[in-house]
Symmetry: C2
Subunit: 481 residues, 2 copies
Amino acid sequence: MKEKQAEVGITVKKSEDFSEWYQQVVLKSELADYSKVSGCMVYRPKSYEIWEKIQDFFNKKIKSLGVKNAYFPLLIPESLLNKEAEHVEGFAPEVAWVTHGGSSKLNEKLAVRPTSETIMYDSYSKWIKSHRDLPLRLNQWNNIVRWEFKDPMPFVRGREILWQEGHTAFATRKEAKEEVLQILDYYESVYHDLLAVPVLKGRKSEKEKFAGADFTTSVEVFLPMGKAAQAATSHLLGQNFAKAFDISFKDENEEKQYVWQNSWGLSMRAIGMMIIVHGDDKGLVIPPKATINKIVIVPIIFKKSKDEVFKKAKELKKELKKFNPIFDDREGYSAGWKFNEWELKGIPIRLELGPRDIENNQVVLVRRDTGKKKNVKLADLKQKINQMLEDIQNNLFENAKKFLDESIIEVKDFKQFKSVIKKEKIAFGQWCGEVECEDWIKDKSGGAKSLNIPFGQEKIKGKCVHCSKPAKFKAYFSKSY
Amino acid sequence: MKEKQAEVGITVKKSEDFSEWYQQVVLKSELADYSKVSGCMVYRPKSYEIWEKIQDFFNKKIKSLGVKNAYFPLLIPESLLNKEAEHVEGFAPEVAWVTHGGSSKLNEKLAVRPTSETIMYDSYSKWIKSHRDLPLRLNQWNNIVRWEFKDPMPFVRGREILWQEGHTAFATRKEAKEEVLQILDYYESVYHDLLAVPVLKGRKSEKEKFAGADFTTSVEVFLPMGKAAQAATSHLLGQNFAKAFDISFKDENEEKQYVWQNSWGLSMRAIGMMIIVHGDDKGLVIPPKATINKIVIVPIIFKKSKDEVFKKAKELKKELKKFNPIFDDREGYSAGWKFNEWELKGIPIRLELGPRDIENNQVVLVRRDTGKKKNVKLADLKQKINQMLEDIQNNLFENAKKFLDESIIEVKDFKQFKSVIKKEKIAFGQWCGEVECEDWIKDKSGGAKSLNIPFGQEKIKGKCVHCSKPAKFKAYFSKSY
């Protein structure tokens, strides 16, 4: 038994060896596994169910806006990919190329989509003729391939990515801009309300914006080991693609106009953020709203009591059906062993049930997030569980929010800036926003990048804390994934 | 206006030029469109919403069995694809190969998955160690690529296919077999209960079974132009893959056993079947259960009445919200033009509303399937719509079932057989089931193939109607897609 337990549990501390900790959590909790293809993961049911929750959550929101789901081809001819110059420059080095069908060489090589702008906009230019065809708002849930050579990290960075990509076209910049920000709010909501992960919301710098966009907005997550990660992006593409692909329409005066376009995407990286933000030395912690099985029932049995406890446990499983409880009825494992396994797997609430509990008409509920135990009378059980799940969801968010807030340090000069970056926190200070300045900062600070520039800032006076040119706004900087 | 109408409507009859009819229906109703990649289609919202309905319907069923969704990599190393001999033989000629990442040549070429047996079973062999790990029941909703050189046909045949593939492993053949048949019943239900398409259910012949399977079961659809199409398959793979991939477990006596495996798949072809079976000379006919917008409200307006009619139409749109009505409030199109467009797009019920209807507290409901009109009092409206939708769903199924039943002709000898095949119907007769005999039949009948062999047949006496060897069962034969 001892040996088995050692195999199952996490053997390192999150704060001491993050990268080993992350790998163990992902593999041992059965979220994902490595495959025979370097950089491509297998997403097991445990993580895919979270992805389905995200899909449902986000689909409801975008469908209410009038966005519709569709599907475009996986393979993109090289000539089409080359049609928008900045775009192809951004993606070409990472494209996986299909060159053969069976044993025949193809006339033109085909890119496995790194993103779908080009293949979609080729259709958009056919479909959009009149102002009556606008807005056109489509979204895809699909797989993309980017043949990166950096070390893969399950969910966070890899060669095949599951994501959604929304691509919309409007008659006016105003409508497009409104949508960009609306979608960004939805992304924030996926993180806040479903995954209990707080984000920083804002506009990306010129240097960090999407290749070919007018501007890019993002939500960013700051991780416990002192690095930020881009968590989702929403781009105002402007008219660059419209001009390259001739996506134009006759307006009400029969005059030709180019459309205004957006694109926006959220990937399985969201699950990685959730794991990293909430996980602890015992393993995974899943916010209740992101998981199907909100409870695990572990029977505490002694020789004679088994039948009675199992009978009651089965009753409870039925009664608590709406929480999809798992009843761990396996033989040959101690209760303690089971506790560890379900903690590793992040189930929000453990319900312990022994003969003494039955006598007292109660059960013991144990919170995964705090480890706190509570005796609960059967009569109050559903209501107490509902309350506890809500408390867990809120507590996870509040803790992460506190960490984020405490990580943001205002800086007045570059010396302070460097010291904040060195302490692995977020430096927030006045900035000119220029590409050369950001290059310089990265070089001089040991790799800090701008995360984003919060919206709704008051007019800025004074200088950039980095290069002393006039400042335009305050921006977040930190090290990044 | 006239010109526009000609552009929009279907210009050929289904019975006269099926292939042109099909293409026009698919393109003009905006179900799908061609892309820049030969053989790969764009699936527009109108068809993707049907796919989402199928996903929801089938997910509920398989999840209730304990099957879980997961995701495995798109790209499969050549060496892994080669691991099961019969399997690779079946797929290698149609594999799209990735040979380069960016500008670097890969060490080993990667197949864009034509199906996922090999990549999944590599993981299964790692995950399955003990009888406690069984059954393992996973399903994927994904895209596959088969680089066919036959003419593409939207939904029915193409190079990129959206489908689900279930892959399960059991300790015993008995459990596996039970699941194969259970899943086949679910496929039948997708067709019958959602798409209103009747199917023939049975076991495939030795010649037609899946490469590497013990046996294959299928549902088959017989199409109005006298050809059958395989509509979904459920395979008992037996232990071939288990042995090739070493998927084994220690049983309760600590002895090594190989697992028994199944795989089963349903693709977007189902949407093609629905279009072909129900469509008519006016265009698409979608069964009510397969569409979101069950009603279109078309206002019938005269100069003075517009405001009044629009106001009432908007009220009705709200009141009938559960049917997701479209309110066609476009200006500059006649009511007749709108009727044609929505008939082309297959909306089950048209609700006409004019000033006289408002006076009489009624609307006119028009059924897409029969074209019948009915005045309905506002007080009864919801109930009458519910009833009409049910009638349409049933009527579509009954009509198609009648056609199928009338197409099946019992044959006693090969002369009758040939005559039935020539008349483009289904020949049903006693058969030996042997591969050589099926080859001979195909050759001598101008291309007839066995569809499947119905389950639960009584013991057969007498001879094969084709080769005079002892018959084993009765089987369906026809020409096929």
